[in-house]
């Protein structure tokens, strides 16, 4: 029943954009129909997942398919259910958001295309999560990847968007190539294209390593693990905001899903794999947030934060893998539980942040943080939503980010303490790294929130911004409520996480500790409620005390400056200057500052930016070198038809001889 509901949801979501294509491009009716269908499809999908959790039964659906080796077999288990929820939820909220943000009447040339591919992307992601056959998985994966390409290049009339699209396309096809190789090796090891655990007796260690490495590279590119993240920042910056929310919140989690699935198939992972994942997670986390600090484009900054959070998720996964190789159930449960919860949390607060950012961009028509400012006064509700998202992403109590980081902390600290098994102290060095990530994220979001919403407006656009319509505020409100819910009541989610972990490590399904006993989740609830109540109480006390005394208004004192101007405020680059300097060895910021000024200097400018190091220093030069290297091939491409016919004749002779 749950699988059929989800499949129905997939079909409706996939076809949600089609009626829009048939209706007129200058009216809103197409958008209304599409949004209705998309919401219906997502609701059906969510209903299917809830049914699965309520009944706990899974009835795989198997249909015949004409492709050799392939069969249409789908099933939901604990792991798929966890990944299905963000897919449908963010798609639902994004479509409603699009009603106000990307109105058909304002964007007649690309609105219908956007909604069509939004639906197909949702369908592709949901399909790959429930697929039980490699070919079906690849089918869903490619639908998702190509839809995402068309979504990223929605505004393809701009050169930057086109370039971003090409980088994204190359990256995703490299990933798909790795996946082809991966599934080929899996087929050789397994004997069929069914996705299932590998037999430890027949598995050769070389094959296991090949599977792990291919999965890491292929899914890592999609997930955005450093240094494979090169497509992420620009793609998320150039796409429309609700597309970025979907991509950042859900698409990159599909890479995580693939990694989690494949690692669940490998029977005896050596400890080094877990250490490698932990190390990559630390690197992605720290470097991701370091790059984010240097950005001054609002959406690029948020995209780099996605890399950081993927790093945290991979850290949890690495810990779980170490736990599996050293046979420590508590590390598996805490590590994987924390990682899966962070998948949800990140989908929620990143989507919230991107939707709020979209609201800001929609009102102020710019993505530059240093052209915004003072928006909290003209857009109070958006600013509140962004604040909740910012507090959540920093992992601060009482919101949801804290709960998943808490679980991972407990798991990492557990590697030191000698429980019932071995200890592995090396993993505990990820703890200061996680603390550093949290502190850097806090620095970055204070910068963003302060520069965008607080202070005074730095440009005309920001001065004349307006609040967003309810169609945009509604989805943000829902996400805010979800953040608070998971932050204050994590015990509700614990059984869902336990199901997911049991799907990954089936031996822990009935034996082994429960998540609720390993982590004091009820204390988190009570402390969160205490914090909220205390803040409210403190606010009431201050308000009453202020009411009793004299309250005046005036200009900011600021140590006696009587004429502050908006340009005097701290900008985002000045706020981040010290941190960018500390990480300068990896960030390599580029500055243009005026040199050799005469005594009465003319007007000049200063510019600083932090480009993506891996892209600019490693990937692009390598591709340019490859282009130069292969330029000698051009000798074969001279346009002479007779010679081309000769090539065909030679190829024919070669094939005849080869047989």
């Amino acid at each position: 029943m749950s699988e059929s509901l989800v499949l129905l949801g997939i079909i409706i979501a996939a076809s949600s954009g089609v009626p829009g294509l048939l209706l007129r491009r200058t009216s809103m009716s197409g958008q209304w129909v599409t949004t209705f269908l998309a919401v219906l499809g997502a609701a059906l999908g969510l209903g299917g997942v809830v049914w699965f959790w309520a009944t706990g039964e899974s009835h795989p659906i198997v249909l015949q398919w004409s492709l050799p080796g392939a069969e249409f077999s789908v099933a939901i288990d604990g792991l798929s259910a966890i990944f299905l929820v963000p897919v449908f939820l963010i798609s639902l909220l994004g479509n409603i958001y699009g009603l106000g943000y990307w109105k058909q009447t304002e964007h007649p040339q690309n609105g219908r295309k956007l909604r069509l591919f939004y639906g197909t992307m949702t369908a592709g992601m949901a399909l790959l999560v429930i697929a039980q056959n490699s070919i079906l998985f690849l089918f869903g994966w490619e639908i998702m990847a190509l839809s995402a390409f068309f979504l990223v290049t929605t505004e393809d009339n701009e050169k930057e968007v086109r370039e971003t699209g090409w980088i994204y396309l190359v990256a995703t096809h490299v990933a798909t190539l790795c996946l082809f190789a991966l599934f080929a090796v899996l087929h050789a090891a397994n004997g069929s294209f069914t996705l299932g655990p590998l037999n430890p007796e027949t598995l050769r260690p070389g094959a296991a390593t090949a599977i792990f490495v291919l999965a890491l590279v292929g899914f890592g590119i999609k997930a955005g693990i450093m240094p494979l993240h090169i497509w992420l920042p620009s793609a998320h910056a150039m796409a429309p905001s609700h597309v970025s929310a979907m991509m950042s919140g859900v698409l990159i989690k599909m890479g995580i899903y693939g990694l989690v699935r494949i690692t669940s198939f490998l029977p005896h992972p050596p400890r080094e794999w877990g250490i490698l994942l932990l190390g990559l997670g630390v690197a992605s986390g720290v470097l991701g947030v370091a790059f984010a600090i240097g950005q001054h484009d609002l959406k690029r900054l948020l995209a780099y934060h996605s890399i950081e959070n993927i790093g945290i998720i991979v850290m949890g996964l690495g810990l779980a893998l170490i736990g599996r190789s050293l046979d420590r159930a508590d590390w598996i449960i805490l590590g994987l539980g924390g990682a899966l919860l962070h998948v949800w949390n990140h989908a929620l607060f990143k989507a919230l942040l991107f939707l709020s950012a979209g609201s800001v961009i929609h009102a102020a028509h710019t993505r530059e943080i240093d052209r915004l400012g003072g928006l909290a006064k003209v857009m109070p509700r958006t600013s509140l939503c962004f604040l909740v998202g910012a507090v959540a992403i920093c992992g601060l109590p009482p919101l949801n980010g804290f709960v998943s980081e808490f679980l991972i902390y407990l798991g990492l600290f557990g590697t030191l303490v000698n429980g019932e098994g071995t200890s592995f102290a090396g993993a505990s060095f990820a703890v200061p790294a996680l603390a550093l990530i949290g502190a850097l994220a806090l620095a970055c979001f204070v910068k963003v929130y302060g520069a965008v919403f607080l202070g005074t407006a730095r440009s005309e656009h920001a001065r004349h911004a307006h609040e967003s319509p309810p169609s945009m505020l509604g989805p943000m409100g829902v996400l805010v409520a979800c953040c608070f819910l998971i932050g204050l009541a994590p015990l509700l989610i614990a059984p869902i996480l336990q199901e997911g972990v049991s799907a990954w490590a089936p031996n822990l399904k009935d034996a082994g500790p429960r998540l609720a006993t390993l982590a004091p989740l009820e204390w988190i609830t009570s402390m969160g409620l205490l914090l909220n109540l205390a803040v409210l109480l403190g606010g009431v006390v201050l308000w009453m005390r202020l009411g009793r005394g004299v309250v005046e208004e005036g200009v900011t004192w600021g140590c006696g400056y009587v004429a502050p101007t908006p340009r005097m405020q701290y900008t985002s680059s000045s706020f981040a200057q010290m941190l960018v300097g500390m990480f300068g060895w990896v960030l390599r910021p580029r500055t243009h500052h005026p040199k050799d000024l005469p005594l009465f200097p003319p007007e000049t400018y200063f510019h600083s930016e932090v480009p993506d190091v891996v892209l600019d220093v490693v990937v692009l030069p390598t591709f340019r070198f490859g282009a130069w290297l292969f330029s000698w091939c051009r000798v074969f491409q001279h346009g002479n038809i007779q010679t081309y016919l000769l090539y065909i004749f030679l190829a024919l002779i070669a094939l005849l001889l080869w047989r």
């Binding site: 300097g581 500390m582 300068g584 060895w585």
Partner: protein
């Protein structure tokens, strides 16, 4: 080994980081001198029998490393009119500190894999000496001023001295005297070089030596 060995070695290791991180040359000289004094006292604890020869050795080490050589370096500072401020060579001080930390950590891990004699296996002495050698090497290569390179050389010799303490039982005097002589010659030569560089170029930055290329 006396239980006081470990704390003294930890103080010596901390002095490595002080030498890497402090910004005044006088401070670095004090750190290296203090480390030398500490190592002299350490020899007291490592040696099984404490006789007049050991006490003489300790006195000579402490006197040379802790007083004579630093006095001479401070004298050279004043002679050459060197600025008191250290400008970091590689990146900021943080970079050198972090590299020093990485090196120390690796030394701790690496020393377990070395083929040591049974009684030396779990001592802090071997990792500490490797870490000090690494710190000295780091200072030698990342600091541009000649006087800082002398101090790096002194740290390097301190590290080798620590390692030599292990062989104390096997070859009682030879090792120490040999090391001290080596040290003395090195510092002597370096001081002469500093004097000549400053006289020739009016500065003690070794970057100017590249002008001597043919």
């Amino acid at each position: 080994m006396v239980p006081l060995l470990d704390p003294l070695l930890i103080v010596a290791l901390t002095l490595n980081f002080v030498a890497l991180g402090v910004s005044r040359i006088r401070g670095v000289i004090n750190a290296v001198a203090l480390q030398g004094v500490l190592l002299g006292i350490l020899a007291l604890f490592v040696h099984p029998a404490i006789g007049t020869r050991v006490i003489l050795l300790v006195a000579v080490t402490v006197g040379l490393k802790g007083f004579v050589i630093p006095r001479y370096l401070v004298h050279a500072l004043r002679e050459a009119n060197i600025q008191e401020e250290v400008k970091p060579g590689v990146g900021s001080f943080m970079g050198s500190l972090l590299l020093g930390a990485v090196g120390t950590g690796l030394a701790m891990v690496f020393s377990d894999t070395l083929p040591l004699a049974e009684q030396h296996k779990h001592l802090l002495l071997v990792p500490a000496s490797l870490a000090t050698v690494w710190t000295g090497f780091l200072m030698l290569t990342t600091r541009k001023r000649a006087i800082m390179q002398v101090l790096g050389y002194l740290l390097l010799e301190n590290g080798i001295f620590m390692f030599g303490l292990l062989l104390l039982e096997a070859t009682p005097f030879l090792v120490e005297v040999g090391i001290l002589l080596d040290l003395f010659t090195g510092v002597f030569v370096m001081a002469i070089i500093i004097h000549h560089i400053s006289r020739e170029f009016a500065s003690t930055s070794t970057e100017h030596l590249t002008e001597l290329k043919g």
